[in-house]
Symmetry: C3
Subunit: 140 residues, 3 copies
C-alpha cells in the first residue's frame, strides 16, 4: 500500500552556522513505515536553508561558511533591505543559493544517504532562531 | 486514496525580473483534492528559474537581482556562448544556480509555505518570454 | 494504481566535467510504467552534482565550467580542508551550489524535460570517480 507520512520538526539554532539534522530526519523516515520511496525535507523560512554536506571533517563546514561570507558579504553596500541588520539580506541570498527543500530516496526502509552525506540546517542569521521543518515521506 | 494531479501553467514574462506565482500554484494544490502530500513545481526552460523568496519587501528582490547581476555579469568576456546576446549565457548560469524545480509540502489541504515565503518565477533573459511550468501534486 | 519504482545507476566519470545522463534517467522513467507522476534523481556523493542544463551547444557547459572555476578556485587559500588535494574543498562547495537532487515531471509515460533541458552529472573532482545515482519514479 502507498503511504504518506508527514511530521513537523522544530530546531533552535544558536546563530549562523550548520547543524546536522540527519538523525532527526532519518527517524521520521523510519517511523513512516515506508520501505521504498522518497523523503522530502522543507524549511518554512527565507533566511535559513537545507544542504547535503560532507559529514566527517568539521573544517568542510567552516570552509563553506568562509566561502559564503565572502560571496555574500554582511553589510554590503549593494543591499538596500537592511531592516533587521547587516545579515538580513545576505541571509535571504544565501538561502536562495542553497535552497529550502531537499528530497532523498528511502531504500529498504532507511534514508539512503551516501556514506559522507549529512543533512544540515544552515542558519544564516547571526542571532539564534527557532526554525520549523516539515518532513514528508511517500512510498510503499 | 493516493492521488496524482498534474497541471500545466503558462506565464508571459516582461523580461528580466521576478513574478510571484504563489497563488497560481496554491490554486493547483487546492484543486488536486490532496489533503496531505507534496506539490512539485517545474519550469521547462534553461534560462528562467523558480525560487522561494521573501514576499513582503520588494527591495529583497531588487537586491537579489543586483547581487546576481554582479555575480554573473551580462556580456562577460568569460563566455563564448553569445548566440542570443550578452544575457544568453548569464541566463543559463543564473538558472543553474537557482534551480528549475521546487517541492513544497501540502498540509491540511493547503500549500504549506512559511509566512514570508513566496514562489517566484525568475526570468533571466532581458526580453519577454512565454514560460511553461508543470505543477504535480501527490498525496492522500 | 499508484506505483513506486526505484533503480540504481552507476557512472564512471573521466574527471571534472559534465556528462549527459538524460537517456539513462528517461529509460528508468519508461521502465517504471508510470503514466503521470514524478521522477527523482539523487547522487550519493558530496563532490559531484546533478544539474539541468542547455543540451545543444557544448560551449554552454565549457562556459559554465569556466564560471564555476573562477567562483570557487582550486587551491584557494581560503580553504583548510585540503586532505585530498586542491580540488577537494572546491568540489564540496560546487556540489552544494548546484545540488545533489533533482525532480522532473513524468507526463504521458515520458520524462517531461523541456526541449533544451538535459540532465547532467557534474563531476567536480579532477580525477575519475565511480558515481552512484538512485532514480525513483512515483505516480499512476
Amino acid at each position: 500500500m502507498f503511504k504518506n507520512f508527514q511530521q513537523v520538526l522544530q530546531f533552535n539554532t544558536t546563530g549562523r552556522g550548520t547543524s546536522n539534522i540527519s538523525r532527526e530526519v532519518a527517524d521520521v523516515a523510519s517511523q513512516s513505515g515506508v520501505h521504498e520511496g522518497l523523503c522530502h525535507v522543507f524549511i518554512h523560512h527565507t533566511s535559513a536553508s537545507l544542504i547535503l554536506c560532507e559529514n566527517a571533517d568539521p573544517t568542510v563546514r567552516s570552509d563553506l561558511e568562509r566561502f559564503m561570507s565572502e560571496l555574500v558579504p554582511d553589510g554590503s553596500r549593494m543591499f538596500q533591505h537592511v531592516d533587521e541588520g547587516p545579515d538580513d539580506m545576505p541571509a535571504h541570498v544565501r538561502s536562495i543559493l542553497t535552497k529550502m527543500d531537499l528530497t532523498i530516496p528511502v531504500t529498504a526502509g532507511r534514508l539512503a544517504l551516501g556514506t559522507w552525506q549529512g543533512i544540515y540546517l544552515w542558519e544564516h542569521r547571526t542571532h539564534p532562531h527557532r526554525r520549523r521543518i516539515t518532513v514528508t515521506v511517500q512510498g510503499s
